[in-house]
């Protein structure tokens, strides 16, 4: 699908989106503070409750309860709290406990490396093939313009592994392993990163697989399996939500040439067309860290995520006004279509490689005529 817009229209769209952002910024206040602190409280309670009930992890009901509470705690910690706080969504509160630069979370990836690979690389170069390394995380083929080779026959297997080990996949993301194999990056550039990852992973492993299990004495093994399960549940969930954000059918990708000298309006358009939403209820949005509103998140990554829902109708109306697609759907539909894509792209493109069609064509020059 190709949309044709004039430069004026794109500038106007940019201004309209800026205005939406400004409206929210001016309205930020006590409610947002109370909200995030309530989420933090809930997460702390789930964690404390979960760890406490695992003190009896040998008894199946307690194992189940503890594992469930701990899974919820980790999901909240990583998504609605960690991911969003590290985006600077709460920096305006000037609260040291919620400062993006100092925040650390309950997962394998060190927060500082995440801020680089995610906040900067992924959010600035969203869906630009060869620049946004979130397209396939360097190991999957998620776009037909990625050149096929026999390695990609394993696409579904690699995706399955990435899903189950998601926290480690994310942790190793900044190492750009694929670029080392292809010789574009030197191993020595990774020395500091590796040290950080080793330290963080070590701490996580020690906490979940040694210390807390030891605390439960003879129930070491059952506590360990509970913690491992909680980590797995979080991995599956985080992977699924994140893949639904950029890979369902209809989401556009871009080339480096297309996006050179982008205007603010063009950047906004790329963010909208490169993301997809998931519909759902209140709880679903919170548990997804409001990444169910990936489109709004990509437009305004630094606005508190609870606000995305409230501006979504306006963003959608703008898309309609300019004839841009607004990709949204039920979770089952979105996740189904990303898996379909994973399977389809395991094979070479049917009909050979074709040049991708640009998502938006800009009609230049009308500015002078107007």
């Amino acid at each position: 699908m190709t949309v044709t817009l004039t430069e004026e229209q794109i500038d106007e769209l940019g201004r309209e989106l800026d205005a939406i952002r400004q409206r929210v910024v001016e309205d930020l206040g006590e409610d947002d503070r109370r909200y995030i602190y309530n989420v933090i409280k809930a997460q702390r309670a789930f964690e404390a409750g979960g760890r406490a009930s695992l003190m009896l992890s040998a008894l199946p009901p307690f194992w189940l309860l503890g594992t469930a509470a701990l899974s919820l705690s980790k999901i909240l910690d990583n998504m609605e709290i960690g991911h969003n706080v590290m985006h600077g969504q709460y920096d305006w509160m000037r609260d040291p406990a919620l400062a993006s630069k100092k925040f650390e979370w309950d997962t394998a990836c060190p927060a500082d490396q995440w801020r680089h690979s995610h906040n900067y690389m992924h959010h600035t170069y969203t869906n630009i093939v060869d620049k946004d390394r979130d397209i396939g995380y360097g190991i999957l083929r998620m776009d037909p313009s990625q050149k096929w080779n026999p390695y990609y026959l394993g696409n579904p297997v690699w995706a399955f592994l990435l899903m189950t080990l998601f926290e480690y996949g994310v942790a190793l993301h900044d190492l750009e392993t694929e670029n080392i194999i292809s010789g574009k990056r030197k191993m020595s550039e990774n020395r500091d990163l590796l040290r950080g990852i080793r330290r963080k992973v070590g701490r996580q492993v020690l906490k979940d697989y040694v210390l807390f299990p030891l605390l439960t004495g003879p129930q070491f093994v059952s506590t360990l399996t509970a913690n491992a399960t909680a980590n797995l549940v979080r991995n599956l969930w985080a992977y699924s939500i994140i893949f639904c954000g950029h890979f369902p059918t209809g989401v556009a990708t871009f080339t480096e040439e297309e996006t050179e000298n982008e205007s603010r309006g063009q950047w906004y358009i790329r963010q909208m067309m490169g993301s997809a939403n998931i519909t759902g209820g209140n709880l679903f949005h919170i548990m997804s860290g409001n990444l169910s509103h990936q489109i709004e998140h990509h437009l305004f990554p630094d606005l508190p995520a609870r606000r995305y829902r409230e501006i979504a109708p306006d963003v959608r109306a703008l898309c309609e006004k300019y004839g841009l697609p607004y990709n949204t759907g039920r979770f089952s539909k979105q996740i189904g279509s990303t898996w379909a894509k994973i399977f389809k792209l395991a094979l070479p493109n049917r009909g050979g490689d074709t040049a991708p069609t640009p998502a938006v064509t800009v009609v230049p020059g009308l500015r002078d005529a107007a």
């Binding site: 800026d18 006590e30 409280k41 920096d91 000037r94 406990a97 959010h123 600035t124 630094d302």
Partner: protein, 339 residues
């Protein structure tokens, strides 16, 4: 860890110093006196020093300095602050309107060099104006608690008698301690009190004839401080004068953007009006950055003083020691960044 204990009680902290308001009094029409019970991390203070108090207003944490006005020897370990409600002041007005027993606020350890030496000088002159009474009142109360025997004069300037915070206690201290003299100067009231009108040199000779041989501690509005400083300098006794300033933020109109100097650590440049990131790079510095459009927060640094304008929203940030994104913040007047 503190986030877990908070679930039980916000005053239960491991590392963070906080305080609970235990008493609130409105000592004058435009000031409020708070008694605070700090958490156990509090290491005490020396009379004259200040603390930083933080409150959340409209969801935003705001920190301001206040000088405890109680004795440093107070038996229950609590501290007392007197806050003057500035007409347009954000934090002082908020405290004036909202402070109530049970409110938990953020607190810093005490700081500042404005305090008495040990051993105590033989003669001490304490001068204050308006809300600047707090640190010197703390000195007075501390000296009295210590059974100080030297000569002590407390000279205070206010608009009228009704504006003097802690007046009854001041009178009481003077009445019960032969070595303590209270001198009240009113600038907008011609009756009552001891002196009238703005500061004049004769005020010093009248209230403490020995002031040239004493140590003077002064805190008050900029005009009063400047006049007294000039007088001490002219007499060549500026070493005997110790001062504290309640610096309030300076405002520069938005159209005067490109004035003043920008300080990045040790590097100082003339403000060109460009964003802080561009100015730092023009000065040959290489601060870390990412998107250069305000979304990734890689270039966030602490602004230690001055006012910045967010070039995307136009918002001004005047508070010291707050984080700013270099790529979308432009300095307004003098600004210092910790790079």
């Amino acid at each position: 860890m503190d986030r877990y204990l908070e679930l039980i009680n916000p005053m239960l902290t491991v590392r963070e110093l906080r305080a609970e308001v235990t008493r609130v009094e409105r000592s004058t029409a435009d000031s409020v006196t708070l008694t605070l019970r700090p958490t156990r991390q509090w290491r005490g203070f020396q009379a004259g020093q200040y603390v930083e108090l933080s409150v959340d207003i409209d969801g935003v944490r705001r920190s301001r300095c206040f000088s405890p006005c109680c004795s440093q020897h107070r038996a229950d370990g609590r501290i007392e602050l007197t806050v003057k409600a500035h007409p347009e002041g954000l934090v002082s007005q908020w405290l004036y309107a909202n402070a109530a027993p049970g409110l938990v606020v953020g607190l810093s350890q005490a700081g500042g060099n404005f305090h008495l030496p040990t051993p105590r000088p033989e003669r001490i002159l304490l001068i204050s104006g308006g809300s600047g009474i707090t640190p010197v009142l703390s000195m007075l109360r501390t000296l009295v608690d210590e059974g100080y025997r030297g000569e002590l004069v407390f000279l205070h300037y206010s608009f009228t008698e009704a504006d003097v915070a802690h007046l009854a206690e001041l009178r009481d201290l003077a009445a019960t301690h032969g070595n303590v003299r209270l001198v009240l100067a009113y600038t907008r009231q011609t009756e009552g009190g001891d002196l009238h009108g703005l500061f004049e040199e004769t005020h010093l000779a009248d209230s403490a004839p020995w002031y040239a041989e004493a140590q003077t501690y002064l805190c008050g509005p900029p005009g009063l401080m400047a006049t007294i400083r000039a007088h001490y300098a002219a007499k060549g006794i500026e070493d005997a004068l110790h001062t504290e300033e309640f610096t309030l933020p300076v405002f520069t109109p938005a159209d005067g953007d490109a004035t003043g100097q920008v300080r990045f650590g040790d590097t100082v440049v003339e403000n060109s009006g460009a964003t802080l990131l561009e100015q730092a790079e023009a000065a040959g510095l290489t601060p870390e950055y990412g998107c250069r459009m305000g979304i990734c927060f890689t270039c966030t640094k602490v602004k230690t003083s001055g006012c910045t304008r967010n070039v995307r929203t136009g918002d001004l940030n005047r508070d010291p020691d707050t984080e700013v994104q270099l790529c979308i913040s432009a300095p307004v007047g003098d600004v210092a960044i910790d790079i």
